[in-house]
Amino acid sequence: MGKYKAKIGLEMHCEISETKTKVFSSAKNSYSEEANSNINPIDMAFPGILPVVNKEAVRMALMASMALNCQQPEYMYFERKNYYYPDLPKGFQLTQETKPIPVGIYGQVTFECNGKEKTVRINNLHLEEDAASLDHYDDFSTIDYNRAGVPLLELVTEPDISSADEAVAFLEHMRSVYQYLNISEADSKKGQVRCDVNVSIMDEDLDDSDPKNWGTKIEVKNVNSFGGVRDAINYEIKRQTKLKENNEYEQMEQQTRRWDEESGTTIYMRSKVDAIDYKYFVEPNIPKFKLSKEWLEEIKASLPMLAYERKLKYINNYNLSDYDASILVKQRDIADYFEKTISLGVDSKQAANWTNGMILSYLNSNEINIKEFFLTPEMLKELIDLINSKTISSKQGKEVFAKVLEKKKSPKEIVESEGMMQITDTGELDRIIDEVVNENPEQVAAYDPERPKILDYFIGQIMKKTRGKANPVTASQLMKEKLANLKK
C-alpha cells in the first residue's frame, strides 16, 4: 500500500441456529439437507399468514447486543424491507432499520489481531429473517424454503478496520462470541455466516477522523467465507490503489460490487444512484412491545463466560500455558469438551494435551465437529486412566485412540479385545523370567551389573514370550533383581 490506508467496514450476517423454531413462524429452525422439509405456510407467505415473534430469538439477539456492549432499545419493533426476489416469499423481509432503534446500537468490540489489541465500534445490530436459498441451473432454478424465516443477526461496524487481517480477526472473534453465547454454531460451511464488506482507501497522511477524507465507499456483497473476506478486501485495496495511481480514482462512483469466488475478483453490480428504495415501514402485524427492565437484567445475568474470560480461568486455575489455553478457547465446543473432561477428574494438563493434540488434529483432518466426535470426555478419561495406571503404555494409548475411533468401541473394550493389556502381574512375570533364565544359562553367567547391556537381551526375550505385553519397567526391575539374586 505505502501511500494509502484502507477504511474497512463489515456487515456480518449470522444465523441464530440455537432457537427451536424460526423467528416469525413455528417451523423448525434446523439445518437440513432435504429441501423444503422445515417449512410452514408462514415461511412461504401463503395468503392470510401473519408473523409471530419468537421470544427466544429476541432473547438471544439481546444477549448478542449486550455482549457487543450495545445499547438496547426501550421498545422492540420490526420493519418491512420491501423488494421483489424469488427467495423472498412475502415480497418483503422483516428486519429492523435504525429508526426505530433495533436490538442494539452503538457498541464496541475489542479483540486481538497479530498480538495487538484492536477495538471496532459497532453501529448497530439487528434481528431479521433469512431468505430462502436458490440454486441456479442452466435453464431453471430451484428454491429451498428451509432457510426462509431462520433468525438472522446483522451486525454493522463503523469503518474502523484497516486491513484484511483485522477484518478476519474481527470475524473470528465474533464467531467465537456467538458460539460462546450459545446462539449460533456460526458455521460458514452451513451458510450461517455471510458478509458484505465496505472498502475505501485514502492517502496515508490525511486525517482519518474526518469522514470527508475517507474516499469513495465500495460495497462488496455476498462474501460467504472468512477467506473470501480476506481476498475480497485485498483485491479491492489493490484495485482501488491502481485507480489512484492511474488518476482514475476520482471518477469512480460509489457502487456495489459482488465477490466472485471463482475468479477471485469483485464485479460491478450497481451504482449508488441505482440503489434500491426498500420503502421501509413498521410491520403493523407486530405490535411494538416494551422490553422490561427485569427481563433485560435477567438476560444480562445469564450471559455466559466468553472466550477471553475462559482463557484466563484456564491459565490461572488450571495452570495451563497461554498457548494451550488460547487453542482450547478458540471454539466453544472444544473448550466445553475440555471442561467436561476436567470435571470428570482428569488432570488439566493431560486433558489439554489430548484435546489440543490428538483430538484437534483428528477433527481437522476428518473435517468433523466435536459434537460428531465418537470419543466422549468419559472415554477420554477412561483412556487417560488406562495409561496412568500403566495398564497400557503411552505409545499404546495412541493406538487405542485410533482404534476407538475406527471400531467405535470404548478404550477398555479395545484394550481387552486387542489383548493390549500390559502384564504387570509380578507372579506372571516371575514365571516368565524363570523360563528365560533357564533357557539362557550362558547369558546369565555373562551378566555383569556394571555392564547392563545384556539386560536388554533378557527384556527382549521376555517381550518375545509375552508378545510385547509385559510392562517394560516392571519387567526390567524384576529381571535385575532375579539376576542379582543369582549372582549372590
Binding site: F46, P47, G48, N82, G91, F281, P284
Partner: protein, 484 residues
C-alpha cells in the same frame, strides 16, 4: 323461502325441536344461492356438496352461512375475487373459519367482493359486478358486496365480511341489513387475505343485531397466530343485549350531519339527513341523551386522504406475495422479473394497480415523510379526537353515506365534493380500531338507508346494546330485500 328469512335463534329453536333438520336448511340455502347467483352474481363458489351438521347447544350449529372469499378455507377455492388467485385452494383454514366450523356452522358459499377488499362498489371482482337485490341497477357497495346481497336476499341469516374502510358497514346500509365490525383484534386476522393490516377487521353481516352478536361471539378470541388479537373471554355480546340504554349518551357531528354543510344537497341527501334526525329522536325516546358536537373541519377533510395513503401503502406491501411463483397462475417470461410482471399485469384489475402505484409512491424514501408519516400523524389526531368524544359519550352516531345505494351506471348520481366526509367517515372506525355497527334506519327513494353507531375500543357490548335498543324502535330488523 321457508326458513332462511328467520333469525338464528328462531332457526336454532326449530332445529332443537325437530321442526326442521340441518339438511333441509342447507338444501334451501343452496337453492336460494343458485337463484341469487342468477339475479345478483353474489358468489364466487357455491358449495353444492355442503354437508348438514349435527345440532348442538351452539346457536350456529346446523345453520347455513356464507363466507367472504378472502377468508382462507381449507379445500375450498378462495380467490379474494382476484385473477391472481383464481384457482387457489388453501390448505389451511382462517382462525375465524375454524371457530365457525367448531360452532357447527355450515358453509354454503363463498361471496364475491371487490378484488382483495380494495373497492367500495362490488364491481371489481374477477367474476363480475354484484347487483343490489333491492334494485338491480344499483350497487351493493363493497367490498363485502356478495355477503351483503346474499344476507339481504335471505340466502341465510348471516355471512362473514371484512372491513378496512367501511367494507362491512356500507354494504349493510345499501342492502338494508346489519353490518358489525368489532374492536380491532377481537377476531383473529389469521387466514384473512390482507388488504391493509393496521385497518383490517373481520366482522359479520346479518339482519338483526342479536344475530351479529351471536356470530361474533363465535368468531372472536385470542389467537396465538395473530399478535394483534386479544383476550375477550369476558365479553359476552349476546348475553349483554338487554335493551337498557336509559342515560346512555350519544353524540353526532355537526360538520357531517347538518344540512347547512352541503351547498347543493340532492333530494336524497335531504331525505337521508331528515331521516337520520328522526332516528336521533327515537334515541331520545329511549332515554338516551343525544348531543351535537363539533369536530375541526380541516381534520375531517383530511380523513379520506389519510385512508388512501395508509391503506394503499400497506396494501402494496401486503400483496407483494402475489407473484405467481409459489401459488397462483405462473406468469410467462424468460426470467423471474418478467414472470412476476406478467402474473401481476394480467392478474390485477386497473383499480388495484392504481392503488399500488399510490402505495409505492407514498412509501418512497423521498416521499415517505410528506405522505405516509404525515398520514399516520393525522390518523392519530383523528383517533384522539374520537377518543376525546368517548370520554363524554358512549358512542358517536352518524348517517351512513349520503343516501341509498348508488347506481351502477355512475352517471345517474350527482357527484358532490361536499359529501366526501359523509361518505368516508366510517374509516375512523378503522383508524381507531373502534367497534362499529350499521343498522337499517329507513328508506329513501324506496331504498334502504343506514345509521352507524361507533364506540370506544373494547366497548363492544355497549355499542351493540345501543344498536339493539334502537333496532327495537324501528321496523327494519329481519327485512328481506324486495325488488323495487
Amino acid at each position: 323461502m321457508k326458513y332462511m328469512n328467520k333469525s338464528i335463534e328462531e332457526l336454532h329453536e326449530m332445529l332443537k325441536k325437530g321442526e326442521v333438520t340441518s339438511e333441509e336448511l342447507v338444501k334451501e340455502s343452496l337453492e336460494l344461492s343458485h337463484q341469487i347467483q342468477d339475479e345478483c352474481n353474489a358468489f364466487v363458489t357455491i358449495i353444492d356438496d355442503a354437508q348438514p351438521k349435527k345440532v348442538t347447544d351452539n346457536l350456529l350449529s346446523g345453520i347455513p352461512c356464507g363466507l367472504k372469499d378472502n377468508y382462507s378455507t381449507k379445500g375450498i377455492l378462495s380467490t379474494g375475487s382476484s385473477n391472481t388467485l383464481k384457482d387457489y385452494v388453501p390448505f389451511f383454514d382462517a382462525t375465524a373459519v375454524k371457530k365457525l366450523k367448531e360452532a357447527g356452522a355450515v358453509f354454503v358459499n363463498k361471496t364475491v367482493m371487490d378484488e382483495f377488499g380494495m373497492g367500495g362498489t362490488g364491481t371489481t371482482g374477477h367474476t363480475g359486478t354484484v347487483l343490489n337485490p333491492w334494485d338491480k341497477t344499483r350497487m351493493c357497495a363493497g367490498s363485502s358486496s356478495g355477503s351483503a346481497a346474499a344476507v339481504a336476499a335471505g340466502v341465510y341469516p348471516y355471512a362473514t365480511g371484512s372491513d378496512t374502510g367501511d367494507s362491512i358497514r356500507k354494504p349493510a346500509a345499501y342492502c338494508g341489513i346489519v353490518g358489525y365490525k368489532p374492536t380491532y383484534g377481537m377476531i383473529s386476522r389469521y387466514g384473512l387475505f390482507p388488504f391493509a393490516s393496521s385497518l383490517d377487521h373481520l366482522g359479520v353481516l346479518t339482519r338483526n343485531v342479536k344475530d351479529a352478536a351471536i356470530v361474533v361471539d363465535n368468531m372472536k378470541g385470542i389467537d396465538p397466530n395473530d399478535m394483534t388479537s386479544w383476550d375477550s373471554e369476558k365479553i359476552h355480546l349476546r348475553e349483554s343485549l338487554n335493551g337498557q340504554v336509559k342515560g346512555k349518551k350519544l353524540c353526532y357531528i355537526q360538520e357531517i350531519c347538518d344540512l347547512s354543510n352541503y351547498t347543493n344537497p340532492s333530494d336524497e341527501l335531504k331525505e337521508h339527513l331528515a331521516n337520520f334526525n328522526k332516528t336521533l329522536d327515537l334515541c331520545r325516546n329511549l332515554g338516551m341523551e343525544v348531543e351535537e358536537v363539533s369536530v375541526d373541519k380541516t381534520l375531517l377533510n383530511a380523513l379520506a386522504a389519510v385512508y388512501v395513503v395508509i391503506s394503499c401503502a400497506e396494501a402494496t406491501s401486503n400483496m407483494s406475495n402475489l407473484t405467481g411463483i409459489i401459488f397462483g397462475p405462473r406468469g410467462e417470461g424468460d426470467n423471474y422479473v418478467d414472470m412476476m410482471k406478467d402474473h401481476r399485469t394480467k392478474g390485477f384489475s386497473p383499480l388495484i394497480k392504481r392503488r399500488f402505484v399510490i402505495g409505492s409512491y407514498v412509501l418512497q424514501s423521498q416521499n415517505q415523510e410528506r405522505y405516509f408519516r404525515n398520514a399516520q400523524r393525522v390518523r392519530r389526531l383523528l383517533v384522539d379526537a374520537w377518543k376525546d368524544l368517548y370520554k363524554k359519550y358512549d358512542a358517536v352516531i352518524l348517517p351512513v353515506g349520503s343516501g341509498p345505494a348508488k347506481h351502477l351506471d355512475g352517471s345517474k348520481d350527482i357527484l358532490d365534493k361536499d359529501t366526501v366526509v359523509l361518505e368516508e367517515h366510517l374509516q375512523i372506525g378503522n383508524f381507531g380500531g373502534f367497534p362499529s355497527i350499521t343498522i337499517p334506519n329507513g328508506f329513501v327513494s324506496k331504498l334502504p338507508v343506514g345509521v352507524n353507531i361507533t364506540g370506544n375500543c373494547y366497548d363492544d357490548e355497549n355499542v351493540l346494546n345501543i344498536a339493539y335498543a334502537l333496532e327495537q324502535e324501528m321496523d327494519y330488523q329481519n327485512q328481506i330485500a324486495k325488488e323495487v
